[in-house]
Amino acid sequence: MNARIVPGAALAVLVAGAALLSFAWTPGEVTGVDIPARLQPPSAAHLLGTDQFGRDILSMLMVGARTSLAVALVAVGIGMGLGVPLGLAAAARRGSWLDEVIMRGNDLVFAFPSLVIAILITAVAGPGAVNAIIAIGIFNVPVFARLSRGAALPVWQREFILAARVAGKGAPRISAEHVLPNIANLLIVQGTIQFSLGILAEAGLSYVGLGAQPPVPSWGRMLAEAQTLVAIAPHVALMPGLAIVLTVLGLNLLGDGLRDALDPRLRSTR
């Protein structure tokens, strides 16, 4: 354990816990409006105050965490699910036409500014959480494809791979049984970092109105709607902003800490 994992994991668990808890209980109303109670500062009744429609901000943040985590989680899942097999295949057939096609295809996706393309996708396919997931997921594919190819190449030079080949195992089986376990640490670390980027991307998309649609709360949209209210009720903008910052910070700390703990290269230099 190191100094980063603990606070990072604590923040991540806090956010995930709040999201899970929101399925069963929230301190206030999330979809109902209560206009007379709007824009109240934090108080005992509303720990983080109320928004422009009188909804409890803490409750909205809890339900919004659900949206953020779900979108980021599935997007990273798509990235890993497609990217890792592609990267492993490219590594197994190094130098072949397959390798070229996969990696140049990844370069192509990588070459576009990801958020701009995500905006394009949601603009064409319509706004909504599902399209946001697809848009963010697509841009996670090359990240994992490159990482797994790069990490798998040295593994393929190792003696135990040679032994497996002698034993008659094919490339797909070797990739799954011997290469993947050896690069899993790296993938976990990268996954954590991509997860935090996914949360930022989701916030960005919903900020411009292309993420989850109302009345489903989303941190980015809460921030966007609070913009003109900053002078009157700063807490309405501050709270979702803080939620995004703390979540991303927590995941980055966790990712860094995990890398220090898991990466064999870093471990040997210590």
């Binding site: 709007r38 003109t228 209210l229």
Partner: protein, 490 residues
């Protein structure tokens, strides 16, 4: 070095007083027009830029909403009220230099009422039986029925006089008779107008005017605070108005509009073809909450489709008072005690986006699940206004005296009622103000009792302006920003 700079400083100081009186103005509005032809496009944003600036009609709306002469200097009305003889102003020219005469008026009216007409308010011209040119300065318009509202009809932005030669390019290069000529349109950004030297009336104080389009409330606030724009007509974030009021650099005008903001229901589609369901929706809505929550208190509740500042207005808000229990009972009577799901399609303005979110919550409270779909204006016009593909929508009807849209079964909310159409026929045939008042009251009551739409509030019109500018319209008797009388005071 000092010796070199000194004369320069003197020159700069000398130049300062000359620059004090500005003759250019940058005015921002929220929406960009989709095209620039007011005679073939329903978008109100066209009139916001062009009405009384580039285009003029026979008559026009004055700042107080009364009808005053424009291109027609005067008119005679026959005894039976069916023949209007318009005497045109002399010396009026289009911006391309050609003279505006009776032939242009006939062309305009015949084009608007013709079978190929794409005029968005064709109903304004339906009653015209014949337009004849008496001489170049005189036009005679014969009506099928007497119509007390004809002079008002002719003041609409949809009835402005256009030149026959300009029609092909009118949507991108409009040519009118107004005090300003169209200069250029940078799509997505601005429209530039320049003073027209051949204008028939008093020359405007401004030499150039730029209309900019800023739809984002935050950007609007920032642009105004940075004084990148001189005026914002229809400021989109009412919550920021107190800040402008407190700042001596600015002046805030809160005017009235003809904008009846309604929750429109698709009267032709299930379940809104059932009056009980419409009544349930109307009772589920809490107007004051919408005005407070979406407009920060700016706006007057309405109970029918009529402007409260109009002397003929009848307060019918009690007919659709907020009563969720009543709404649930009505739904049960309609056989929908389980509630139902529908769409709520929202155009960009904050009254719709914010109001829509509040409305969705209020409807949810009585069991109606309204799924919010946010649309851009072009999509809204296509899907909702033209395509009739919606359950509910929130929109403000900014045309003046437009209760007659309820007599048009093909109008987007598709209210089809013979009684109401009869009232509108009576109204058109009545010239006596007292009798008209009675008919208008009946008409207001009819649509309110039928709960055609849920009537929300009359849109207020906040304008934020540089404190040194005078002559702006405070109220919006029609959607327009006439700049002929606007000037900088210092």
């Amino acid at each position: 070095m000092t010796r070199l700079l000194a004369p320069l400083a003197v020159a700069l100081l000398a130049a300062l007083p000359a620059a004090a009186q500005q003759t250019d103005l940058t005015l921002a509005i929220q929406l960009e027009p989709p095209g620039l032809d007011p005679t073939s496009n329903a978008a109100g944003a066209i009139d916001s830029v062009l009405y009384a600036n580039v285009f003029e009609g026979l008559t026009r709306f004055a700042a107080d909403g009364t009808i005053e002469p424009a291109l027609a200097e005067s008119w005679d009305i026959s005894e039976d009220g069916t023949t209007y003889t318009f005497h045109l102003r002399t010396g009026v020219t289009f911006h391309d230099g050609t003279a505006m005469d009776a032939e242009d008026v006939r062309f305009t009216l015949d084009r608007a009422r013709g079978p190929d007409s794409t005029n968005a308010q064709k109903a304004l011209f339906e009653n015209i039986a014949e337009v004849s040119v008496i001489d170049p300065q005189t036009v005679e318009v014969r009506l099928a029925q007497p119509d007390g509202g004809f002079l008002t009809n002719m003041a609409w932005g949809d009835a402005v006089i256009v030149a026959p030669d300009s029609i092909d390019a009118i949507a991108s290069a409009p040519v009118g008779t107004g005090p300003f000529a169209f200069d250029r349109w940078v799509q997505g950004d601005r429209i530039d107008l320049v003073r027209y030297s051949g204008y028939w009336g008093a020359a405007p104080a401004l030499e150039t005017a730029t209309f900019r389009f800023i739809s984002d409330p935050t950007a609007a606030f920032a642009a105004m605070m940075a004084q990148d724009i001189d005026v914002f007509a229809g400021f989109p974030a009412p919550e920021n108005l107190p800040q402008f009021e407190a700042d001596p650099r600015f002046r805030v005008l809160t005017g009235t509009t003809e904008g009846e903001t309604i929750l429109a229901m698709n009267n032709h589609s299930d379940p809104f073809d059932d009056p009980l369901v419409r009544a349930a929706v109307a009772h589920a809505i809490d107007r004051q909450a919408i005005i407070d929550g979406a407009m920060f208190g700016l706006g007057t509740p309405i109970g029918t489709h009529f402007a409260p500042h109009n002397p003929d207005y009848v307060d019918l808000t009690d007919l659709s008072a907020h009563d969720p229990d009543r709404a649930r009972t009505l739904l049960a009577e309609a056989g929908l005690s389980e509630g139902f799901t529908t769409t709520l399609k929202l155009p960009p303005p904050s009254y719709a986006r914010r109001g829509g979110e509040i409305i969705a919550a209020q409807l949810r409270a009585v069991g109606i699940e309204a799924e919010i779909v946010n649309l851009e204006w072009a999509q809204w016009l296509e899907e909702v206004f033209t395509g009739h593909d919606f359950g509910l929508t929130v929109v403000s009807h900014t045309e003046p005296m437009d209760i007659n849209i309820y007599a048009r079964p093909d109008y987007y909310f598709q209210y089809d009622d013979a009684t109401f159409r009869g009232l509108m026929r009576d109204l058109a045939a009545t010239a006596d103000p007292a009798e008209r008042s009675v008919i208008l009251a009946d008409a207001q009551r009819r649509i309110a009792e039928d709960h055609v739409n849920a009537f929300l509030f009359q849109l207020a019109f906040p304008t934020v302006a540089d404190a040194r500018i005078e002559g702006l319209w405070e109220n919006q008797p029609t959607q327009a920003n006439p700049l002929a009388g606007v000037r900088w005071t210092e």
